[in-house]
């Protein structure tokens, strides 16, 4: 199996151009009124999902750990931001989710969230610690493959059950909403929205750069080696559990930041974001875009979600799950490397056709018969 993904041919200039488009061109177009507020808001959302997709890919595409709990880390980050935002909203008045359960004042764990740096710290610490503890337990006992997926799914399921309870004082199934200001800017202002979009784009570019660097380093090499044959790496003297734990924590924190930027842009956070299907949906983006690449998942996330916003309104709404489900089956069956694998697949197909053509021609006697005209090049 080719460890080097087909997509390594995406050239740096293309990446730089896309980064400039996302970071500069889109905000400028929005400022001049070419792009509507609605579209900009949507793109902010897509980019958050793109970051979430990268965090999944870092685990699944590069380390071979299919985590079905990334939506949990995403939502946790969102809740940390949500706690900051509800502290900012409504002044001295208590939000209804607290008065509803008979509270007359803020629970103590809410108080420090009036400080933004504290909230950011928590965005790192809460998902990071959870990932650390869970990952430590899971990797220590060498839970891997499918078991890891099922356990992370169960973890998410349990957390969702917990967050649906009003007694947790996190808003129950309504979650947090009615946000007002962030860092002193009104969330209703167009300029704040643009600022949030730019922040998301910067984070995306930063995460892409970080992951490019990480996966290109010696660390990335070990990561991929673990994916392909963990035992060999283990027997070569590497503590694979620690490597996996590190990647797991990093990806949890990346997902958490994506969630934190997601919340002020959509204006609500509730536990339905951490339902098990959400994690699976995010995995679809990665698979569709092309796992084992950094840009592929972003492409997958953006294209699937753009398609979803287009298809899930109006007459086609009922067909959206059909389209999503069916396309997923097709991708898994026929495009194991996603959109980013298509050029490689086409090249493989061409090469195979070429070889067949050559074989049909009278070959020189010195040439050995090619006995591998299998479609393996298409479907490795």
């Amino acid at each position: 199996m080719n460890n080097q993904p087909f997509s390594s041919r995406v050239h740096l200039p293309i990446l730089i151009v896309s980064a400039i488009v996302l970071l500069v061109v889109v905000p400028v177009l929005h400022g001049t009124g070419v792009i509507s507020d609605y579209t900009l808001g949507n793109w902010g959302k897509y980019l958050c999902y793109g970051i979430l997709a990268i965090s999944i890919d870092l685990l699944w595409g590069y380390t071979g750990l299919l985590c079905l709990g990334q939506a949990l880390f995403f939502t946790l980050g969102g809740y940390m931001m949500g706690m900051y935002l509800v502290r900012m909203a409504g002044g001295t008045e208590l939000p209804t989710f607290l008065t509803m359960v008979g509270r007359t004042e803020w629970p103590s764990f809410f108080l420090p969230f009036s400080s933004f740096p504290f909230a950011v710290l928590m965005m790192v610490l809460v998902p990071g610690l959870l990932a650390y503890v869970f990952g430590f337990l899971a990797f220590r006992s060498r839970i891997k493959g499918v078991y890891f997926s099922i356990l992370t799914q169960a973890l998410t399921y349990g957390a969702a059950l917990l967050f649906f309870r009003n007694e947790l004082l996190m808003g129950g199934n309504n979650g947090f909403t009615n946000f007002d200001t962030m860092l002193g800017f009104s969330l209703r202002d167009v300029s704040t929205k643009r600022g949030l979009y730019i922040a998301t784009a910067i984070l995306l570019v930063a995460v892409v750069t970080l992951c490019k660097w990480l996966t290109g380093s010696r660390f990335g090499l070990i990561q991929r080696a673990i994916r392909d044959s963990e035992n060999r790496v283990l027997f070569s003297g590497y503590a694979t559990a620690n490597f996996k734990l590190f990647v797991f924590v990093i990806s949890a924190i990346i997902a958490s930041f994506a969630g934190a930027l997601f919340v002020p842009q959509v204006g609500i956070i509730n536990p339905s974001e951490m339902e098990t299907s959400k994690s699976l949906e995010a995995v679809v983006w990665v698979a569709l875009g092309g796992r084992g690449t950094i840009v592929g998942p972003v492409l997958g996330a953006v294209s699937v979600n753009a398609l979803k916003s287009w298809a899930s309104t109006g007459a086609t709404a009922d067909f959206w799950p059909l389209i999503l489900g069916a396309s997923f089956v097709l991708v898994v069956l026929f495009m194991p490397k996603g959109i980013f694998g298509i050029p490689g697949q086409i090249r493989g197909l061409m090469a195979w056709l070429e070889r067949r053509k050559q074989r049909e021609e009278p070959s020189p006697p010195s040439r050995k018969p090619d006995n591998s005209p299998t479609p393996a090049a298409i479907d490795p």
């Binding site: 869970f134 337990l137 499918v146 356990l151 035992n231 098990t276 699976l280 799950p321 999503l324 089956v329």
Partner: protein, 578 residues
């Protein structure tokens, strides 16, 4: 106004006359010889309410349902007091059809014969003009006493039990003699138990200290749940009064009841745990085949459950009035057989049908998707999730996105109480069903040639292929078997849970956990883990009093358990690495 005064005066007069006429005195001895109707007739015309009450109370000596019927009529104002103008008042009831001016013919209460005037003409009265016999609260209490007593002697056991249990309310000492009398003649053990309970509870208020202590002892002996609050009050009073022996006796009774309660809770929890475990088992057993034996992560497992449930729904309607569906805009209708008693028998046919339909869908899925993914388990997870989305949507298209109504056969409702523990029939049925499914699975895997092939292929695919086993076909059959079991689970869940297009999502996490904890590739492991998870879930729930926290704790416990046994309860030993 004037008229009423005159009537009331004349009634008093006439009553005196009446008493003289019938030769009645309020003496009980004489009253005993009179018929029920005579007593009631006398009571309706008695002058004072004390007198009326005493007369009514004489009915207690011979409690008959007839007395209750007439007393009820009295209370309802259906007995009228006819004044013949000479001061003679006769209690009568209305009969026949309403006359032109709203009047009715009458019957004499005393013997039920038509009430005739001296000249032989029937007397008609208008109920709006003639006074009805009235009752006051004291009188109604007396009537209640009589009817209570009659209920105590009711030949219907259920009614009698209720009357006995009700008699303890209020701890009226005057009810004791009747209860004790009944206790001497009662034969039914349940009724005897209830009588002992009621007598003891009433005796807690006895004026004799020894009797109170004896009552406490009796309550301790039969650990009556009904007496719990009363005993608590008695204990508090005894403590206030520094009544040492009473404190000891009441404390003893209270401890005995509390012990009984905790025993009931323990048995109830164990039973509920067993039935929850059985549900998990039924739901997970199909997955134990497809995931455990074959290694296919079938995320569409829940949708196969839904397929089974919907098949049950269709069969139910097929047996009754038929069903109209409009999938994808095409309207189709399934004719109904209109079978009498179909509601009770359809389920027997629905079980095999849902197995078959789910198995057929399983074959289609295996041939079209799964067979290409045997070497890529993680990708089978993703592809089958896509399949589950598609299946949910297709079910929505066919049956609509709302839940559909599946009725349970009558023999699944009701319950059975043993020693204060409630055993619901449907829970008992769950356990039986789980046992049945395990037996079927075990038989198929161990006693049929298909089972032999399945085991051979799962243990060593290449070797089996070398021996001439058509492994592809065995894979298909195995997958279909697993899906069929999921369909069976669906048929069964349709009896106790909602049937909707996304019902399968509720069970998917639980089923995977059950199989993982049990150890992949081992049916026995799945059985033990299902029961274990069910039991611990109910136990946590019992102690925390909160189902959600209980579930979260169970999930936590499972993660910790896998620390200890990463490959589940039963490990399939192998020398190969990965």
């Amino acid at each position: 106004m004037l008229k009423s005064i005159i009537t009331s005066l004349s009634r008093r007069l006439s009553t005196c006359l009446m008493i003289g006429l019938v030769g009645l005195s309020a003496g009980f001895a004489q009253a005993q010889e009179k018929s029920v109707k005579e007593t009631i007739a006398a009571a309706t015309v008695a002058t004072t309410s004390d007198e009326q009450r005493e007369l009514v109370l004489t009915l207690k000596l011979k409690p008959t349902p007839e007395a209750v019927t007439w007393l009820e009529k009295w209370k309802a104002g259906e007995i009228f007091l006819h004044d013949d103008g000479n001061g003679v008042i006769t209690p009568v009831t209305l009969t026949g059809a309403e006359g032109q001016d709203g009047s009715f013919a009458t019957l004499k209460l005393i013997d039920g014969t038509p009430y005739l005037a001296a000249d032989g003409k029937p007397i008609v009265i208008n109920p709006k003009e003639v006074e009805a016999a009235e009752t006051d609260s004291g009188l109604r209490r007396a009537m209640k006493e009589v009817s209570d007593l009659v209920a105590l002697a009711d030949p219907d056991l259920a009614k009698r039990l209720r009357a006995i249990k009700d008699s303890a309310i209020g701890q009226k000492l005057e009810k004791l003699p009747a209860l004790q009398q009944l206790r001497a003649t009662e034969k039914d053990p349940d009724a005897i138990h209830a009588l002992d309970e009621s007598i003891a509870i009433i005796q807690l208020r006895s004026t004799v200290p020894a009797e109170r202590i004896a009552a406490c002892k009796k309550i301790a002996e039969i650990h009556s749940l009904t007496a719990y609050d009363t005993v608590k009050t008695i204990l508090a009073e005894a403590e206030k009064a520094q009544d040492k022996p009473m404190i000891a006796a009441a404390g003893e009774a209270l401890r005995s009841i509390e012990g009984h309660i905790s025993r009931i809770n323990a048995v109830g929890t164990a039973f509920r745990g067993l039935s929850l475990g059985s549900v998990l088992l039924v739901v997970a057993i199909g997955l134990a085949i497809t995931f455990g034996l074959m290694g296919v992560i079938n995320m569409a497992h829940g949708e196969f459950i839904a397929v089974g449930a919907y098949t049950t729904y269709v069969i139910q309607n097929f047996f009754a009035d038929g069903l109209k569906l409009s999938p994808f805009g095409v309207s189709m209708s399934i004719p109904g057989l209109h079978l009498a008693g179909g509601a009770n028998t359809y389920f027997v046919f629905a079980l095999p049908a849902s197995f078959l339909i789910a198995a057929l869908v399983g074959i289609a899925l295996e041939r079209s998707v799964i067979q290409f993914l045997y070497k890529r388990p993680l990708e089978s997870l993703l592809a089958t999730w896509g399949v589950s989305l598609v299946m949910q949507q297709v079910l929505k298209f066919i049956f609509g996105s709302n839940n559909v109504q599946v009725s349970s056969p009558a023999w699944l409702s009701g319950s059975w109480t043993v020693n204060d523990v409630l055993f619901g029939w449907n829970r008992v049925f769950v356990i039986g069903f789980a046992v049945l499914i395990i037996v079927i699975t075990w038989l198929v895997l161990n006693k049929t040639s298909l089972g032999l092939l399945i085991r051979a292929v799962m243990q060593n695919r290449n070797m089996a292929a070398c021996m001439g086993v058509r492994t592809e076909r065995v894979n298909t059959m195995t997958f279909a078997f697993g899906c069929g079991l999921a369909g069976l689970a669906g048929a069964f869940l349709s009896q106790m849970a909602n049937v909707g297009p996304s019902m399968g999502q509720l069970y998917i996490v639980d089923s995977f956990m059950t199989v993982v904890v049990g150890g992949v590739g081992n049916i026995l492991g799945t059985v033990i883990s299902a029961l274990g998870i069910g039991m611990s879930d109910q136990t946590f729930q019992q102690y925390l009093g909160n189902p959600v926290l209980g579930k979260i704790l169970v999930l936590g416990a499972i993660i910790l358990f896998l620390q200890w046994r990463p490959a589940g309860l039963f490990v399939t030993r192998s020398r190969s690495l990965d």
